[in-house]
């Protein structure tokens, strides 16, 4: 394969990776804007969704059915966790709330370990056939499914927040909480819905990536951290920023691993995070892209 083909190959895997980070960042930023809580357990939603779907498939359910059940279950779990762990601490300082979500993440990982053990589980690819040859690079069809989900999530969320009354209720709450309460909006109810939505989106993302990455009980940890980095690169306040941040991080990792050393992959995102926090704590993209609160 010539150099340009190789570079294109890296770009493709970077976009796939980035798409996953973008989905996590999107869920993080959306809940953060509405609830003020940075949910460090978001990665666990991916892991649990994927593991649950894999078990359902192994038990004989079709993939679409397993998908629907896992997404619904994680939405329920997200809402329940918000009610039981986040809501009681809604007046606590942000640091306490983050620590709560970190302990949720650890507990959920422990729960997954108990139920599913350490063995990786697989899901079938959504569409059959070998890799597609595009411009001399081999593209895994599942990558297209992942990018499709990213596009769907972005368009869906954008449409929801810009065009629907309920979407505007959420925005009102994030723009001005006092104003929202004065028109009768109950921010606590929205917070619960936001976590349910994160659970659903997380489960969907987990199921979409499992045919490529396999699912393990601890897959959520690094994914959650990377999603956080992507969200912070994006400025933590805009959906567009989160997606761009995710894609940027994925491409950077793919090129770092492909051109320099594969050991660099995970270190790179932390280096990027430190760089962004030191140089532009408000995010690289947030100020320009998407809607600012």
């Amino acid at each position: 394969m010539d150099l340009s083909g190789q570079l294109f190959q890296l770009l493709c895997s970077g976009l796939t990776l980035g798409g996953i980070y973008a989905l996590i960042a999107l869920a993080l930023v959306t809940t953060f804007n509405i609830t003020g809580v940075l949910n460090m357990a978001q990665g666990e939603f991916l892991a649990l969704g994927a593991l649950l779907a894999a078990s359902l498939c192994a038990a004989g359910a079709s993939l679409p059915l397993a998908f629907v059940i896992a997404v619904a279950a994680l939405a329920l779990l997200g809402g329940l966790l918000e009610r039981s762990a986040i809501h009681p601490a809604r007046h606590a300082p942000g640091l306490i709330q983050i620590i709560i979500t970190i302990s949720l993440s650890i507990s959920l990982r422990g729960l997954a370990l108990l139920i599913w053990g350490t063995e990786p589980v697989a899901l079938p690819a959504f569409s059959g056939g070998g890799p597609l040859l595009v411009l001399g690079a081999a593209v895994n069809p599942q990558s297209l499914w992942i990018l499709g989900l990213v596009a769907l999530a972005v368009v869906g969320l954008h449409g929801f927040f810009e065009l629907t009354y309920t979407g505007k209720v959420f925005r009102a709450c994030e723009i001005n909480r006092t104003g929202a309460r004065l028109v009768g909006i109950n921010p606590a109810a929205l917070s619960c819905l936001a976590f349910a939505g994160s659970g659903a989106l997380g489960a969907a993302a987990g199921i979409f990536i499992t045919p490529v990455t396999l699912a393990t009980y601890d897959m959520g940890f690094l994914l959650g951290v990377k999603g956080c980095v992507a969200a912070i690169i994006g400025g933590l306040n805009s959906a567009g920023g989160a997606v761009l941040g995710g894609l940027l991080l994925g491409i950077l990792e793919a090129f770092g691993a492909g051109l320099v050393s594969s050991g660099l992959k995970d270190a790179l995102s932390l280096l990027v995070l430190m760089g962004v926090l030191l140089w532009r704590p408000e995010g690289l993209i947030g100020a320009v892209a998407g809607r600012k609160v």
Binding site: Y165, K168, N176, G179, L182, V183, G184, R291
Partner: protein, 246 residues
């Protein structure tokens, strides 16, 4: 319709309201005046459900509503236009108004559209700006929007916190005229104002709050001529010819 008995509200260690008792009848328009930090905003905030009282009782149409949250008070017909307006800056003017009707939006969809028209009739200056972001409006228009948003909830008790603050005299006059019009429709209104002269002109009754207590109350026209009020809140020039103040 509103009965406040021995109301106490604290902000942390600050005793913002101590023993406020007051009753307001349906259709009455009451002014609340007092210097900075007297506790006026705290009183309205407690009525709107933003602050939980440390003591005392609030009765609305005979039913206890003490300590209920803001979401509940809106449903009971109490709407607050807060001091800082708290409009949704990055949403359009129309969206701000529609969100004002949040608690009955689904039930009264068509009536809500009618209410938007009514607000635009009340504040014609907002007409033509429906699609603009609320944050791009001038201060006067933002205040009109804040009042309009509160009206969209169809309140029976409207609370206004310094609607004239920072606005040009012409705009103040427009807003006060709109409030007088609302009073004509039978709405009960409590108006907190720094612009004492303007407030005493449009209201029936007024009370003066100092350091969390009601120190003076009476008919607005009488207070306008009360030497103590003239000296403390109207300033000498206006005290000589109160009629020229508006």
């Amino acid at each position: 319709m509103l009965e406040i008995i021995g109301l106490k509200v604290n902000h942390g260690w600050v005793r913002a309201l101590q023993d406020i008792s007051l009753s307001v009848h349906k259709g009455e328009m009451v002014a609340v005046i007092g210097s900075n930090g007297a506790g006026k905003s705290t009183l309205l905030g407690a009525l709107a459900g933003l602050y939980k009282p440390a003591g005392g009782r609030i009765l609305l149409n005979g039913r206890p509503v003490t300590g209920k949250p803001a979401e509940y008070m809106v449903r009971q017909g109490v709407s607050l236009v807060p001091e800082r307006r708290e409009i949704f800056n990055s949403l359009s003017v129309l969206d701000n108004l529609l969100l004002g009707a949040y608690h009955h939006y689904r039930a009264l969809r068509d009536a809500v559209r009618e209410d938007v028209k009514r607000v635009l009739d009340l504040f014609p200056a907002l007409r033509g700006r429906e699609r603009d972001s609320a944050g791009t409006l001038s201060g006067g228009l933002q205040q009109m929007l804040a009042i309009g948003r509160a009206l969209m909830a169809r309140p029976s008790l409207l609370l206004l916190d310094e609607p004239s603050s920072g606005l040009a005299p012409l705009v103040v006059r427009e807003i006060m005229a709109a409030l007088a019009g609302l009073k004509q429709t039978g709405m009960t209104i409590i108006l907190v104002e720094q612009n004492t002269a303007a407030a005493l002109k449009v209201t029936d009754r007024a009370l003066v709050i100092e350091r969390g207590r009601i120190v003076l109350s009476g008919c607005s026209a009488d207070l306008l001529n009360n030497p103590r009020v003239q000296q403390a809140y109207l300033g000498r020039v206006r005290a000589v010819r109160p009629a020229a103040a508006l």
